[in-house]
Symmetry: C2
Subunit: 328 residues, 2 copies
């Protein structure tokens, strides 16, 4: 894992799957001797919402917990060693209990909300929490402006969490909207990185391409900067043998008429990516992607070693693309 190119790596990430790869990138870069601050993780904020008067940023939280070793690996979200006494008491009060908030997790939402109300930006709060958590990689909110993912179902438009958590992704989705994305100013550190000749790679994490990466790419300035970026852009497939590791990716792609396959995801990133990491089970799909540099390997990230392995493969593919020694 040594001998990679140096420079900033910008990862675009949603929650769980993205956080797994981001942690792999942290370790892969560390193994190269690269400073942790070389890694920028641009987090989706389209899932953010106000709940119980609290500003909740699910994907940022998942990244903060995962990159600081505070995540609950079994549950896949929230903090390890979590307790649920707040929720029990809220239920007793007849409060809104459809969104689970652990006692320890709650502190992050309360503190973030307090700081936002005091005038700090989401980026500032995220940076402060990263520092407190001892995270050296740079977790970035995709924007400090409000972007809110909404899904259109038979019964009308629903807020993302209302659909995702409240309705367990069950209502059939007709269309998606990322309200505010057109006007949102992308995180300036991400924009600088994309314009920087020293950018080593952009890695699109194996997150839901529509719901997690979609809001990031829905910001016109960011999408244009990514398309114009001279560094290698590599996506990692979130689909393995026609199944998403987690979450409603396949269901949603199907409902929106998109091929819910590893190749389909890559085609959705057409014009943006030059490289693609896909699972060995989908190696055959590479033939359908002749314009992309691809690498196939086991991509299911169960252990930390798995994460480092996939991250290393993505970085290696990007480095090969950069020096023109790509083997398709």
């Amino acid at each position: 894992m040594t001998g990679g190119r140096r420079g900033t790596v910008l990862a675009l990430s949603g929650g769980v799957g993205g956080a797994k790869l981001a942690l792999g990138l942290v370790h892969a870069l560390a193994a190269e001797g690269a400073p942790a601050a070389d890694l920028l993780v641009l987090a989706n904020t389209g899932d953010d919402f106000e709940h119980l008067g609290l500003h909740i940023s699910p994907d940022i939280d998942t990244l903060l917990y995962a990159l600081s070793g505070r995540d609950d690996a079994q549950r896949g979200w929230g903090r390890a060693d979590e307790t649920w006494h707040f929720m029990a008491a809220l239920r007793e009060l007849g409060g809104q209990d459809w969104f689970q908030l652990g006692d320890r997790d709650l502190a992050l939402h309360v503190e973030r909300t307090r700081r936002l109300r005091a005038g700090e930006t989401l980026s500032e709060v995220t940076g402060a929490v990263s520092a407190k958590f001892g995270i050296d990689a740079r977790v970035l909110a995709m924007t400090d402006d409000p972007v809110r993912t909404r899904v259109e179902c038979a019964q009308g438009w629903m807020g993302f969490q209302e659909w995702f958590v409240g309705a367990r992704c069950e209502p059939v989705v007709r269309s998606l909207d990322f309200a505010g994305a057109q006007a949102a100013r992308p995180n300036p550190h991400a924009m600088e990185a994309l314009a920087d000749p020293g950018l080593r790679a952009v890695i699109i994490c194996p997150s839901n391409p529509l719901l997690s990466i979609g809001p990031i790419l829905a910001m016109p300035a960011l999408r244009e900067a990514l398309a114009a970026c001279r560094a290698p852009v590599v996506a990692v497939s979130p689909i393995i043998a026609g199944q998403a590791v987690r979450g409603p990716t396949v269901k949603l792609m199907g409902e929106l008429g998109l091929p819910a396959t590893a190749a389909g995801v890559a085609q959705g990133y057409a014009g943006l990516i030059g490289g693609y990491v896909l699972d060995e089970a989908d190696a055959h799909a590479a033939a359908a992607l002749p314009h992309l540099a691809t690498v196939a390997l086991p991509t299911l990230m169960t252990t930390l070693q798995d994460r480092i392995h996939v991250a290393g493969a993505a970085l290696a593919l990007a480095d090969r693309m950069a020096v023109g020694r790509v083997e398709a």
Copy 2:
């Protein structure tokens, strides 16, 4: 304990000491066969404050927990079987941790704040929580308007909780202010009760007369209605043999130049009360209060039976005053 007069009993209450007597009143009235709704507990809201973006009503909370059996008897505040994982996580984030918020307790603050922001009044929220907690007595916010107790110390004005909790009551107090009290509209149910010929008694609980009862009496309309009230008004001394059972009553009275004795408290209520329940250790003080009907008994409320006994004595004194059979 049977055979008392019927009618509404209005108790003026702060937190811990007031809640003990209020619980005693609930049981004393039940023993008479009186409906629980005959008891109105008008709670001080001068201690209310915004903390971490949450509206906290310490005295109302203490009453709600005590009257529903959810209180922590040992600690004296907050909920029984409480856990502190939120606080630990908040501390880890560098958040403001000077005010302790238990995991279960937090649900009440979050839910109250959510409802207030949604447009409900503090009275409506208090009523809703009382119902959820199965409290049949009527816990009333002294007002739905903001009243905020402040203390003037050598270093200037401090918010009440800043002084009480943050500075552990240590700074010497020069004066008190109940900001907003002049303009605050007292709880209409309390005002109706005071004007009702059927009012059986007003009981001023053994709460801090300056900090807990003071804000209630600082509302001009309520003070006038109390002074004009035809029902017996009985205070229960919060001081036993020159010591407050709990809290800074004695320190504060001394700093403000008031005699920190059972008689001193009664004199502070001059013009408002006609009866006074004091501890047997202070029985001698009754001689200094010839204008009051008094009764002396053990007033330390450790057990539930103690509470019922003191409450029953206060009610009995009020009833004797009402029928003109007062033995001074």
